[in-house]
């Protein structure tokens, strides 16, 4: 009898510890979000979002050019990565068992484990040093490499969810493989593909090291893809490690903008996934 009570008590203790662990995890997230919101909201307003950074000792200033730079470089990265990665995913989906596919999958997983810093070093050496300038283009390319593994592997997973019965039906009706892919498989998996891209974009938007090494930073408006370009993560990094109170406050403001953007992307992706799952 005592043995049974002991077992029950142990079981309850265990459950309590698990609840505690989950509570801590959620508490930490809440703490981080709380600080980002509390310190960020104090500086975020329309002019903060639309002005250029101010020199030290000059009041005002904002993150307008960093916001645009981030949007542009992430967009550029997606523009490069999406077609290539979805094509690669189609290849993996069409040739699921080939040895080459296994190798491509392996390489993509390796790429997902490469520290983003190393990707920055690679693009710096291959592009920045060769062209002689830091640029938004180099930043976009570095981000496309960061995005590649997520888009490829999540796209493959999404393509695989299109039932083979439908594909066989399409082929039986005389459609070529290409037609089947374009008319059936890709549209069928579109929701999932978009989710993968959104998550990749959310990840790329928060990258610091690859952008710092390739696009450097800028205090002016973006005028060309060939010039150093500001971005939100680099701005946060520089401002956070500065001793100036107004710059530190701006770092929190920029962090708030970045975190909100990334959370919105994630929540939208999640809702989208729920929606497309339900439809299926």
């Amino acid at each position: 009898m005592t043995n049974r009570r002991k077992r029950k008590a142990l079981g309850l203790l265990f459950e309590a510890l698990c609840v505690l662990a989950a509570g801590i995890a959620i508490l930490v997230l809440a703490l981080i979000l709380y600080y980002v919101f509390r310190r960020g909201i104090a500086v975020v307003n329309f002019s903060f979002l639309t002005s250029l950074p101010a020199p030290v000792g000059v009041a005002g200033g904002g993150i307008g050019n960093a916001l645009i730079g981030s949007l542009l470089m992430v967009g550029l990265g997606a523009l490069i990565a999406v077609p290539v990665c979805i094509a690669a995913a189609v290849f993996l989906d069409q040739n699921p068992a080939s040895k080459l596919s296994a190798f491509v999958r392996f390489a993509t997983r390796v790429l997902s484990g490469v520290p983003s810093m190393v990707i920055g070093l690679f693009v710096f050496g291959q592009l920045v040093l060769r062209t002689g300038n830091y640029s938004a283009l180099a930043g976009g390319i570095a981000l496309s490499i960061v995005m590649a593994p997520i888009i490829t592997l999540s796209a493959e997973e999404m393509l695989r969810l299109v039932p083979s019965s439908q594909r066989e039906a399409s082929m039986a009706l005389g459609a070529t493989k290409q037609q089947t892919v374009f008319r059936l498989v890709l549209p069928g998996a579109a929701g999932g593909l978009i989710v993968g891209v959104m998550l990749a974009v959310a990840l790329a938007a928060g990258q610091t090291a690859p952008v710092l090494l390739t696009a450097l930073t800028s205090r002016f408006w973006l005028e060309s893809l060939q010039q150093p370009t500001a971005s939100l993560p680099v701005l946060i990094y520089h401002y956070a490690t500065s001793p100036f109170a107004d710059w530190q406050a701006h770092a929190w403001g920029a962090a708030l903008v970045l975190v909100v953007a990334i959370l919105v992307l994630n929540v939208t992706a999640q809702l989208f996934l729920g929606l497309s799952n339900r439809r299926r």
Partner: protein
Amino acid sequence: MKKQSLLTRVLAVLACLVTLVSLLPAMAQADTRPITIEFNARELRGDVAPQIIGGRTMVPMRLIFEALGAEVTWNDATQTVVGRQGNVTISLTIGNRNATVGGRAVALDQPAQIFAGRTMVPVRFIAESLGATVEWDDARRIVRITSAAQSRMRSPVTSELRMTTGGASFPFPLYTRLITEYAAVTNPRVQIEYASVGSGAGIRGILARTFDFAGSDAPMTAAQQAQVWPNEVLHIPTVMGAVAVVYNLGGIGSGLRLTPGALADIYLGRVTHWNDPSIRLLNPTLSLPDQRITLVRRSDSSGTTFIFTNYLSKVSPTWRTDVGEGTTVRWPGTTIGGAGNAGVAAQVSQLPGAIGYVELSTAVQSRLSMAHMQNRAGNFIAPSVEAASAAAIIMEDASFMTHPTDSIAHTAYPIVGITWILVYRDQENEAKARATVDFLRWAVVERNLEPFAAELHYSPLPETGINRVRRLLQSITFGGQPVWR
């Protein structure tokens, strides 16, 4: 009949020719090509095109007044236009040749008049009354108006230019201010990016030509200069600055006295607590806590470290033999690194008991307590713009290529460094060469940096230094020709 008719015909032809020739000027007058109004090199466009009436170019009143920054009011009852810019008021009445400028009556060739529903005013009269200059380009039918402010503008280049530069973080706050100001006084605009990445990165950037010019607090080594031979990288001094010894001791503000020996002992790890007798003896009035000294240093290679270790090597034989000077050194004690001047200041302000070294501007901006250092004459001197300037009055090196640390001047602060801008002597791009020379001339030689330097706690170069900069700038060439005009 035939003869007569021939004569008549000849006469008729002659008459036609004469008429034609006499009409020519009139035809030229009636040139109907549109007129363009350019204001500070940008085209001004209104809803009604400029018209030439009676030999005067007339433009819509709002267009020209607003371009010149004047306020316009329209009095419908008296049919009068009043433009006001600063303390100048211009008043014109429709159809009336008498106008007033600042209360004085002026007679006009052409009065203001209504054309296509708009009030048209003579452009030259308005522009010149408000201090602008007006030129008429007859060939292209352009009225060029240059505002008073714009005529003081600098135009080193013919089209807008952006330059990528970077390096030392020591002068970064000053350079960001200068660059913002310079962009505002150039037309076409010259925008200079200066990334605060450290002197080492600046030197690497100029060698790899990823930077158009670089900032550095440390001169390049002979080996680095050899890489660019037969070209040469010029070191142009811009400002000097004190390196402040900062600390975080709760209630104790600026004014802690330190001797060169005490500072060296602290950084050598020989003095580990703030209440060490050697510090207490120098500061009998302060109640120093029994707190561990946390040493903060630059984690990146930097000119500030160079100035600081250069000073310690001059004043401490142990430092010279055990550690030496350099942009990064092997620190003997346990140290915490901060990236950039800003990073060190951030660490010091975060850590109670910390001591660190940052440029004066950063120290003041981040409200850190600063030590008074004993100089060679034995005086305890607070870091300041004046005390740093004093260090260069007796300059041991006339080429301004070494830091004036441990100066013999009585009022000099002892830890003072120079910061340089590194520029190739022979330039590859003409526009960038002109912009670089003009920027440095504007900033240093024409002393436009001085108000900002004072505000941000840098010390301007003495006269001898400015002369040196002029000579260096005059030696910069593009395609074998000097760029300086």
